[in-house]
């Protein structure tokens, strides 16, 4: 009997270690954000968050301050990217996934396989060509260009996941709706869409977070700091202030993280389901 107890205790100890590992960096970040010392964790203060008052970094040093965009402008850009991505992905994938799930049309299998391939291909390989294309289209250095590219990259996952949701709705309900008198579009909007709401929520959540944290596309395609998102701002701050004022970087990161944490707490279950769905197909 004693042997078994020891093994279980060991198990739970290891589990405990596993649990703390990912949490430690975050805890450190939070401590650093409130630290009185710019580089070590020490004490507690709110002065690292001074930028919240006016949105200007280094408010007491106008030369520095002019180098960086206003925090609130950056926040707006980040938000636009995130919400634009979420809305477009949800809109386009919900309609396409419905047709792919329900209708038999020529090239259906080809289309579905293409989406699968596009989902598996990392976006990094397309950067060069996309840069050239955006430049030719005049969308370089614009938030719109980044939103379009981001949306295209997140689309295949949306289609696959929502297709799975549509597949799980019994056929009879759709036939019943058609017979009851809806048009084909009516079946989609009145019956199918409400029934896949969890999927829509999951994809919307995922796409929002994806856009909110996006770095590479912004770094590659955007040059003027007024079009920066938070990711760019933090990155540039860190490379310049890394050894000097880490606490500021930390506090800024914490602000950046707030929507992520909130959405994560709300939608963690959906994100887990999505990860499985996104990989399985």
């Amino acid at each position: 009997m004693a042997k078994i107890k020891i093994a279980t205790i060991l198990l739970y100890i290891v589990a405990g270690v596993l649990a703390t590992l990912p949490a430690v960096p975050l805890a450190l970040l939070i401590s650093l954000a409130f630290s009185e010392h710019p580089v070590y964790i020490h004490g507690f203060t709110l002065k690292n968050f001074d930028f919240l008052k006016t949105g200007k970094l280094f408010a007491d040093n106008p030369t520095y301050s002019a180098l960086y965009p206003n925090i609130y402008l950056t926040a707006l850009n980040t938000f636009l990217l995130a919400i634009g991505n979420a809305l477009l992905v949800v809109l386009i994938s919900s309609t396409a996934a419905y047709i792919i799930s329900r209708y038999n049309f020529r090239g259906r299998v080809v289309l579905l396989s293409s989406f699968l391939i596009m989902h598996g291909v990392p976006a990094s390989v397309l950067l060069i060509a996309l840069y050239y294309m955006l430049k030719t289209m005049g969308l370089l250095n614009t938030l719109l260009g980044v939103i379009l590219v981001k949306m295209a990259v997140d689309l295949p996952l949306g289609v696959w996941v929502l297709k799975g949701f549509y597949d799980s709705i019994p056929w009879d309900i759709e036939i019943s709706a058609l017979v009851d008198g809806t048009s084909r579009f009516g079946v989609f909007s009145r019956i199918m869409l409400p029934l896949v709401k969890p999927g829509i929520f999951a994809i919307g959540l995922f796409s929002f977070l994806s856009g909110w944290g996006e770095y590479i596309f912004v770094y590659t395609f955007i040059h003027t700091s007024t079009n920066w998102t938070f990711s760019m701002l933090i990155r540039s701050l860190f490379s310049e202030m890394g050894g000097i004022n880490l606490a500021l970087v930390a506090s800024l990161s914490l602000i950046y993280l707030i929507p992520v944490i909130i959405l994560f707490v709300i939608g963690e279950k959906y994100l887990v389901r999505l990860t499985i769905g996104g990989v399985k197909g």
Partner: protein, 303 residues
Amino acid sequence: MYIPRRIYKKIFLSAMLLPSIVVASIFLAVPAALTLAISLTGLDYRFTWTWIGLRNYERLFRDPAFQLIVRATLIYVAGTLAFNTGVGLLIALITTHIRKSLGSFIRALWLLPRVLPSVVWAVLMMWIFSPMPTGFLNTVIKSLGGAPIPWTFKYYWPFLFIVNGFIGSSLSAIIFSSAIESIPPDYIIAAKVDGASSFTIIRKIVLPMIKWHIAFFVAYNTLSLLASFEYILLTLDGGPGYYSTEVMILHAYHLAFGQYMVAMNYGYAASIVTILFIIGLILSIIYWRIFRLKRLMLEARLE
């Protein structure tokens, strides 16, 4: 207004389907083909198309840096894959053998680094493992009376494995644990009745039954790691020193978008990317055959 059935159906299908096809074609399919085309040109900062055939590739293979970047890629993919699979498996095994709610909680915690914006995670890791005395680990060591360790200068590969591994392990942990949880409990009960210890059960029953999932993850992960570079870019940026962690895709990125005079060399950079494409394509075809993915396509029924 009465619209004939066939026409209405065509309009309806097109309107619903077309946006996704258009978007995917323009921003995903076209760039893929374009990359191949660009690799055959001398496209650079002048933005003029000059066909030079396979000269970029010749130059690439003769470039002394080529060996370095291929070596870096291999180490990166192999190491990160091992970390992802190993740690993910460990997490999955542990979290499925403790109380269910606690298990889900731990897996959720591990999802956190993955959900965080990449810059934040990279900045955190860089600070914790900074070789400077101001790095977190080094301040802890100093306060204990030791000398600061040059983490990222000396142990850069383990560092990268950890940074990327925390991101990738959550994925494998979720996949493996859901696979483990879907094993019919009868098998485990039968084994226990037969007198098997927990370790034997794991070795002889659990692992073989999730073989497919492990293989699938390895396949999927190698493909994504081949072209992953975001966290390397954000932390070591190919260093320290000359190309120690410069994986192929990162080198291509530097050639195209870097800050030095070698940059804006789009044609040359595209040739590296095309090679990655080809490798990925070959691997995918192999995987497709092995996993017979066709059965994921369900039958449609509306007409």
